[in-house]
C-alpha cells in the first residue's frame, strides 16, 4: 500500500520535473531504488544537472554495498548469477529476509523483491495516467508525499544521538548553501556530515554492534 502510493507519487513527481511518462516508467523499471530515484528526480526538478543528480543517487545507494555484501554468501550460483540476484536487493526485502544470524532466506528475498518490483513499475504508470485526470496535482498536495515519506524514514533513523547530530548538521549545511549554489549541490555537501562516522567513538560503536549481531553489516 505505502509502496504503491510512493510509486504513484514518483510518477507524478518525475513528470513535474520534466521527465516524459515513458521515461518515468523506464526509470523505475531499470533502476529499482526508490530513494535514489526520488533524490535524482528532485535535483533535476529543482534545475540541477545530471551529474549532481547521479552523484546524489550514488551516495544514497552506497548503503546497498554493505547490504548486498552481507547477502552474498546466502545466494546460490556463480559470480554472474549472484551479481544478478544482487540487483533484487532493496531495503524492504533485505530486512524481511534476514534470519538475524547473518544469513538470508534467498527465496524470500527474491520473492518479496518481485512483488515490490511489480508495484514499483505499476505505480508510476498509474501516476502518469492519473496525473492528467487529476489535473493540478499541486492543488492536491501530492508534491508533499515524497518529502513526508523521507521525513518518516529520517525519524526512524534518529534513534542515536550521533544520528540526530548528523541530521542537524546535514540540514544546516543544506540550508546555508541553498541561496549560493546550483541545485543539487546543497544535498551533496550535506552528505559530508556523515564523515562524523570516522571519529574513533563512532567506529568503536559500529564494531561493538557488529560483534553483538555477529553479522557483517
Amino acid at each position: 500500500m505505502a509502496g504503491f502510493i510512493l510509486a504513484l507519487s514518483f510518477g507524478i513527481l518525475a513528470e513535474d520535473a520534466g521527465f516524459s511518462p515513458v521515461a518515468a516508467v523506464i526509470f523505475s523499471a531499470i533502476v529499482f531504488a526508490g530513494s535514489a530515484q526520488f533524490t535524482a528526480v528532485s535535483i533535476v526538478g529543482a534545475g540541477g544537472g545530471a551529474g549532481a543528480a547521479v552523484a546524489a543517487a550514488t551516495l544514497m545507494n552506497s548503503r546497498f554495498l554493505p547490504m548486498s555484501a552481507a547477502v552474498g554468501p546466502s545466494f546460490s550460483g556463480g559470480p554472474i548469477r549472484r551479481a544478478l540476484k544482487g540487483q533484487a536487493v532493496v531495503d524492504h526485502s533485505w530486512a524481511l529476509s534476514s534470519r538475524g544470524d547473518g544469513t538470508f532466506d534467498e527465496a524470500l528475498l527474491l520473492g518479496a523483491s518481485a512483488i515490490a518490483y511489480c508495484t514499483w513499475i505499476g505505480g508510476p504508470a498509474v501516476g502518469v495516467l492519473w496525473g492528467d485526470v487529476l489535473g493540478d496535482t499541486d492543488k492536491l498536495g501530492l508534491d508533499a508525499i515524497f518529502p513526508a515519506f523521507f521525513f518518516g524514514l529520517l525519524l526512524n533513523e534518529l534513534r542515536s544521538r550521533r544520528a540526530r547530530g548528523v541530521a542537524a548538521l546535514g540540514t544546516a549545511l543544506a540550508l546555508v548553501l541553498i541561496p549560493f549554489t546550483p541545485p543539487g549541490i546543497p544535498v551533496l555537501v550535506a552528505s559530508l556530515a556523515s564523515l562524523v562516522g570516522l571519529t574513533r567513538r563512532a567506529r568503536a560503536d559500529v564494531r561493538e554492534r557488529q560483534e553483538a549481531e555477529g553479522e557483517p553489516r
Binding site: G51, M60, A144, L175, S194, A202
Partner: protein
C-alpha cells in the same frame, strides 16, 4: 542526450554496479569498520538535507510554504502512529488545505 536520459542512464549504471559488487567482490568479507560507520550515517545526512531542500527552499531562496506545514504535520503523525501511509496522506491533505485557503 538530454538531462533526463543522462540521469536515468547514470543512475542505472551506478545502482547496478553497487548491487553487483556487493555479493561478488565483497561477498562474505567484512567491510572496513570506518566504511560501514560512514555509510550508516549517510542516510540521516542525506534524508535530512533532502527534506530541508524540498520543504524550505523555493528555487534558490528559503521559503515557508504550504508543503512546509504539510510535511511537519506528516512527521508528527508518523511520530505518534509509526504509519508511513498515514504520514504521507496527512502531509498531502494539510498541504492541499493550506493551498485552498
Amino acid at each position: 542526450m538530454s538531462v533526463f536520459a543522462l540521469t536515468i542512464a547514470g543512475s542505472f549504471a551506478v545502482t547496478a554496479a553497487i548491487k553487483a559488487l556487493g555479493p561478488v567482490a565483497l561477498g562474505g568479507r567484512e567491510l572496513p569498520t570506518w566504511f560501514t560507520s560512514v555509510v550508516v550515517l549517510l542516510s540521516p545526512a542525506l534524508l535530512a538535507a533532502l527534506v530541508a531542500t524540498q520543504v524550505f527552499a523555493e528555487g534558490d531562496r528559503l521559503a515557508l510554504e504550504a508543503d512546509t506545514a504539510g510535511v511537519a504535520a506528516g512527521g508528527l503523525v508518523y511520530w505518534r502512529t509509526e504509519s508511513i501511509v498515514a504520514c504521507v496522506v496527512v502531509a498531502a491533505a494539510v498541504t492541499a488545505a493550506f493551498r485552498a485557503l
